[in-house]
């Protein structure tokens, strides 16, 4: 069967990695290619780049980065952040990104999911959903970096994105993001059991057990990890060794 995927997330701003590996060698610290190559060699199953540039110029540099990464990194990578049109998607994919992730634009214009899935195939369209708990087993979709409530119910929205052609859901718990208290298991489980497409759990990883819980109890098909890896609190081989010892199928290299 397909293995669970361990996915490092790198935040990029104006062409530089701003949330990435804390290298001792400062010179390469902000280099997206160096960061991606490092995780690729360590055994990452995929990589996600989140472009947090606030300007058009900043976003343009993402296309160059995609090409540079595609020249030396031979595992799949996804690009998200600020993507709002078919043209944006086309540019990123044709320069070597394997998938793109859309969030705010998908909520504002759900047709974008449908049109992009038709044109490029569902397998490369990831819909990112930022969820905030608003009650017992109830979560609301937030957009614009988790700042703006939409009134949309997370489960309803997740189902709708599947109907429109999304190939995967990147599900972030706003409540847990940055806390290291563990993934929102209820949220992950509820969404994963509501949709037929793979779900990537994100937000809250603080220790090995959290990853196990997200996969086994939360039914996540992949886990997104940032700080925990960047600060070298955990390494990918360590994570995979642990999950394997717990009976979870992982892809080990070497």
């Amino acid at each position: 069967m397909v293995t669970v995927r361990i996915i490092p997330c790198l935040d990029v701003k104006d062409g530089k990695v701003v949330k990435g590996i804390h290298f001792e060698n400062i010179k390469v610290a902000g280099d997206p290619v160096e960061n991606a190559s490092f995780y690729c060699k360590e055994g990452a199953d995929e990589i996600v780049f989140l472009d947090i540039s606030a300007t058009i110029e900043g976003r343009k540099t993402m296309v160059d980065i995609v090409r540079k990464v595609a020249d030396v990194v031979f595992i799949p990578f996804t690009v998200g952040g600020g993507i709002s049109s078919l043209n944006d998607i086309d540019k990123l994919l044709s320069n070597g990104a394997d998938k793109i992730s859309i969030n705010t634009a998908a909520v504002k214009n759900p047709k974008l999911i449908e049109e992009s899935a038709k044109k490029f195939g569902s397998q490369c369209i990831v819909v990112a959903i930022d969820a905030k708990k608003i009650g017992n087993n109830k979560w609301e979709v937030f957009i614009e970096g988790g700042k703006t409530p939409t009134g949309l119910d997370v489960i309803d929205w997740a189902k709708k994105t599947v109907d429109l052609g999304a190939g995967e859901i990147l599900l972030t718990s706003i409540d847990r993001d940055g806390t290291q208290d563990g993934y929102d298991i209820e949220l992950t489980k509820t969404v994963s059991e509501s949709v037929k497409i793979p779900v990537i759990a994100s937000g809250g990883a603080g220790k090995l057990e959290h990853l196990y819980e997200a996969i086994v109890n939360g039914k996540a098909n992949a886990v997104l990890i940032a700080s925990l890896l960047h600060f070298r609190i955990l390494t990918i081989p360590q994570i995979k060794k642990y999950l394997k010892s717990k009976g979870i199928e992982v892809r080990e290299i070497k």
Binding site: R5, F74, I75, P76, F120, G121, C124
Partner: protein, 202 residues
């Protein structure tokens, strides 16, 4: 010279950059005329079955590729590029190249997530130069919702996702893989190297 057929929209660059990385001379092919200058032909897999067939027909590439395949050019179809070789697909309900016998069908198991997305094992069924230095049950990267239903004789590698499906097929000069070798790390590079440098004597 290796030619990568450019059709439809999506990530064709990765196959190109992977071959460049392996030190190969490679060109993107949009014009059927170039096909006569090539030693290897690669049909990458991006997009949708029906619209890809339309694009290939429109550009006049379809007939020329079909001719080259019969002429014996070493050929690699990746993902959708594999599926297009068959007679018919459920995706868009239309016919493909019809070079290989079989149909392309969707995963139907209710207990699995679709697309089949991620790293999965390839079980080697028949020894081949394509698997040189690649161990049985090695992991490769998959991203697809459809698979081919074909004759047993063609299948040299299979993968399980709810059911067993063909992940590597070979018929004479034609090789097809359901996974993405260009996205399968070191082993993917090795598979491509084997394809390009292997002995093409049957």
């Amino acid at each position: 010279m290796i030619g990568i057929i450019k059709y439809g929209s999506g990530n064709i660059y990765s196959v190109f950059s992977t071959l460049k990385f392996l030190g190969k001379e490679v060109v993107l092919v949009e014009n059927p005329k170039i096909l006569d200058k090539l030693n290897f032909l690669i049909l990458p897999g991006v997009g949708n079955f029906a619209s890809s067939m339309e694009n290939l027909e429109k550009g006049g590439l379809l007939e020329k590729i079909r001719y080259k395949l019969k002429d014996g050019i070493p050929f690699l179809g990746i993902c959708l590029g594999l599926q297009l070789l068959f007679e018919w697909s459920e995706e868009g309900e239309r016919e493909g190249f019809g070079i290989l016998k079989g149909k392309v069908v969707k995963f139907k198991d209710k207990n699995i997530k679709i697309p089949h997305m991620g790293w999965n094992k390839v079980k080697i069924l028949k020894e081949s130069f394509l698997f040189k230095d690649i161990r049985d049950n090695s992991y490769f990267y998959f991203a697809h919702s459809y698979y081919v239903n074909t004759q047993k004789e063609l299948i040299i590698g299979k993968t399980n996702y709810g059911i067993d499906f063909p992940s590597v097929i070979v018929k004479k000069n034609i090789v097809g893989v359901q996974f993405h070798p260009e996205k399968s790390g070191e082993l993917g590079l090795l598979f491509l190297k084997n394809f390009l440098e292997g002995k093409w004597l049957q």
